[in-house]
């Protein structure tokens, strides 16, 4: 498998505090990966760096076959290059319908003039319907997304990410606040998505990570502490000390 994203030697400090400390990390192009770690381990900062929200002090971030450097690119450009991000809190456009949300996310020209004169084709509508079906919102296309349940909003946001057709999906705590049934469905959506692209899930919840059944990276104080299967890392003494032992 080819390396899709390569983070090497990245350091970020906020007012002297090293949120990310010489972090190196690799993702292959169709891989499901869970990133775990205690609070303050740098999980969200890691996502901020990859998506262009935060600029690292040192290090390299290389993307794709052409080893494009993501440092210095705007958030929008990075998203267009094929990295999608899901926030911890479900963030969908609450005043707009499920259909409008998905249509906006659909992989199309993002330039303002092209968007101004955009007319959705029949195939665009079908694509939106298929996506809605995939995330279990096939019946809710015309509902204003603010009316949806917490879990449905999470799925809608994942659906918007899928609509972007990214090569890498960064997902921040997708199962937070979900019922067991909703978790199962979320797991299924993510596992399915990881068949055709890389998916990185940042998660707190061990039970959920076990369900994903994938390689796990443990972050601690902004660096990788351990990496491997969940069983492997949970037996690691360092991991037990800083994370599981608490």
């Amino acid at each position: 498998m080819n390396t899709l994203l390569e983070v090497s030697g990245v350091t970020v400090s906020f007012d002297g505090f090293r949120a990310i400390n010489n972090l190196s990390f690799q993702i292959a192009d169709a891989e499901l990966r869970a990133v775990i770690g205690p609070n303050g381990a740098g999980k969200t900062t890691f996502m901020d760096i990859v998506t262009g929200k935060t600029r690292p002090d040192t290090g390299h971030i290389l993307w794709g076959d052409k080893s494009l450097s993501l440092i210095g690119m705007s958030e929008a450009k990075i998203a267009q290059a094929g990295i999608g991000r899901k926030f911890q809190k479900p963030t969908v456009f609450e005043e707009q319908t499920v259909q409008e949300n998905l249509m906006m996310a659909l992989r199309k020209d993002r330039a303002s003039l092209a968007v101004l004169f955009f007319k959705p084709s029949t195939s665009d509508f079908e694509r939106v319907e298929d996506l809605a079906e995939e995330i279990g919102l096939g019946e809710a296309l015309l509902r204003v997304s603010g009316e949806l349940s917490h879990g449905q909003k999470q799925w809608l946001e994942i659906g918007m990410l899928l609509a972007q057709e990214p090569q890498l999906l960064l997902v921040d705590e997708p199962a937070a606040g979900m019922t067991p049934a909703e978790r199962e469905k979320t797991t299924a959506i993510l596992v399915e998505a990881a068949k055709t692209r890389a998916v990185v899930v940042v998660e707190h919840d061990m039970e959920f990570v076990r369900r994903l059944n994938c390689k796990v990276t443990v972050l601690h104080e902004g660096a990788v502490l351990a990496e491997g299967s969940l069983d492997h890392v949970t037996k690691n003494q360092d991991v037990i000390d800083v994370y599981l032992g608490r």
Binding site: T51, K53, S74, E75, A76, K77, A79, Q80, G84, R85, F87, T91, V92, F93, E94, E95, Q96, T97, Q99, E100, M103, M104, A105, R110, A111, S112, V115, L116, F118, K119, P120, T122, F125, L141, L142, M160, Q164
Partner: protein, 391 residues
């Protein structure tokens, strides 16, 4: 599945029909072309109100739909007025000067004519030379182009600097206030070349036109109604499709839009510049009806009133902006125009000229507290549910 834009937005057609009917009724009742029930000065008030409605829907686009509370759009409105005012004043003065000089024995030289116009226009600020910015004042076509170009360019430069630095929220509002204050202070200077605090006057007279004001006022009234109709159509179209989805997304969650791959700053800049151009056109139609423009017109308070009108009418719905602006500005001119009778309370007489602002402030507070969707929000209660093809 793709129904036409008008079919998806029946409110646009309803608005245009009401506007056309209103224009017809005013024309029939006017002094110029009708039975004379509406005075020429009131036709001008109505025409000016239509121009204010036009800038209000532009304000609704930038604030109500995109979520950028600009408190500086009257700067663009005023600039539009100044641009057309320069031609009106120059051309009318030129006709007068040529006329008076031709009574002499020798025909006047071009230098004499230019000096005469300069004296007439800039005498009040103790000068007779034409400032550089009047270089194209003799060309109606160019000045009309400037009506759109100058506000558009100012908005483009200002917006580029502000949005690129990711200035948002109240900080951006303060910056736009500073912009309009800066423009106002600059124009107050005699050296600005736009006659300082005298401003440009006599704008109600169209050069070379002998028709009476009762007729000219209707021409401008029609032009204002047409501009409002076209502006409404344009903005309703802009907000109806995916572009509308994106800018409403920017209003509700800027970061999300960014991570979807849209360049938020570019979209903001496009909307800011477009609305500035519309504001310029509105101003260019307004000031010939007002007859005079001076730097006080672009004072910070004017742009704040604009936000108040739109808030009272209801943000994020174009007809709300129109209703709010028409209602508040007409009521305002009634109260401040001396037509409202004073209320003697014995110990104190309520003079509406003084007390109107308190009333306006109170209604703003009440709307914010009890009807956040404004007057337009009441109409929404009658609106139909969205359909599947509404994308």
């Amino acid at each position: 599945m793709n129904r036409s834009f008008i079919a998806r937005n029946p409110s646009v057609l309803i608005f245009l029909a009401i506007l056309a009917l209103f224009t017809l009724v005013v024309t029939v009742l006017s002094e110029g072309f009708g039975v004379g029930l509406i005075s020429t000065s009131f036709v001008k008030v109505l025409g000016k109100t239509l121009c204010l409605c036009l800038i209000a829907i532009a304000m609704d686009l930038i604030w109500g739909y995109t979520g950028i509370l600009s408190l500086g759009h009257f700067a663009f409105f005023g600039l539009g007025g100044y641009m057309i005012g320069m031609w009106l004043m120059y051309e009318r003065t030129r006709l007068i000067v040529v006329n008076s000089l031709s009574e002499g024995v020798l025909p006047p030289t071009p230098e004499e004519i230019t000096a005469g116009i300069g004296n007439q226009i800039f005498g009040v600020v103790g000068s007779s030379d034409f400032p550089l910015i009047w270089a194209f004042a003799d060309s109606l076509v160019l000045q009309l182009t400037f009506v759109v170009l100058v506000p558009g360019l100012l908005a483009l430069v200002f917006g580029w600097l502000a949005f690129r630095s990711r200035v948002t929220g109240v900080y951006l509002s303060i910056l736009t206030q500073a912009m309009t204050l800066g423009l106002s202070l600059y124009l107050f200077q005699n050296a600005s070349g736009l006659r300082g605090n005298n401003g440009l006057s006599g704008l109600q007279n169209l050069p070379g036109v002998t028709a009476p004001q009762s007729v000219v006022s209707l021409w401008f009234f029609w032009a204002s109604a047409l501009a409002l109709g076209l502006g409404y159509l344009l903005i309703a179209w802009v907000v109806s499709g995916k572009f509308g989805s994106v800018i409403r997304g920017i209003r509700d969650n800027e970061a999300r839009v960014r991570f979807l791959g849209y360049s938020v700053e570019t979209y903001k800049l496009v909307v800011f510049t477009l609305t500035a151009c519309i504001a310029g056109i509105a101003g260019a139609l307004y000031y010939p009806q007002a007859g005079i423009i001076n730097p006080a017109e672009v004072a910070p308070i004017a742009s704040i009133y604009l936000a108040v009108w739109v808030a009272i009418g209801g943000r994020g719905r174009l007809y709300g902006a129109v209703i709010g602006t028409a209602f508040v500005s007409l009521v305002s001119s009634w109260f401040t125009g001396g037509q409202a009778p004073d209320v003697p309370l014995g110990f104190y007489t309520v003079k509406w000229v003084d007390w109107w602002l308190f009333l306006l402030g109170l209604s703003f507070v009440l709307v914010t507290l009890y009807a956040p969707n404004g007057i337009g929000g009441l109409i929404d209660l009658l609106k139909r549910k969205p359909r599947e093809t509404d994308v």
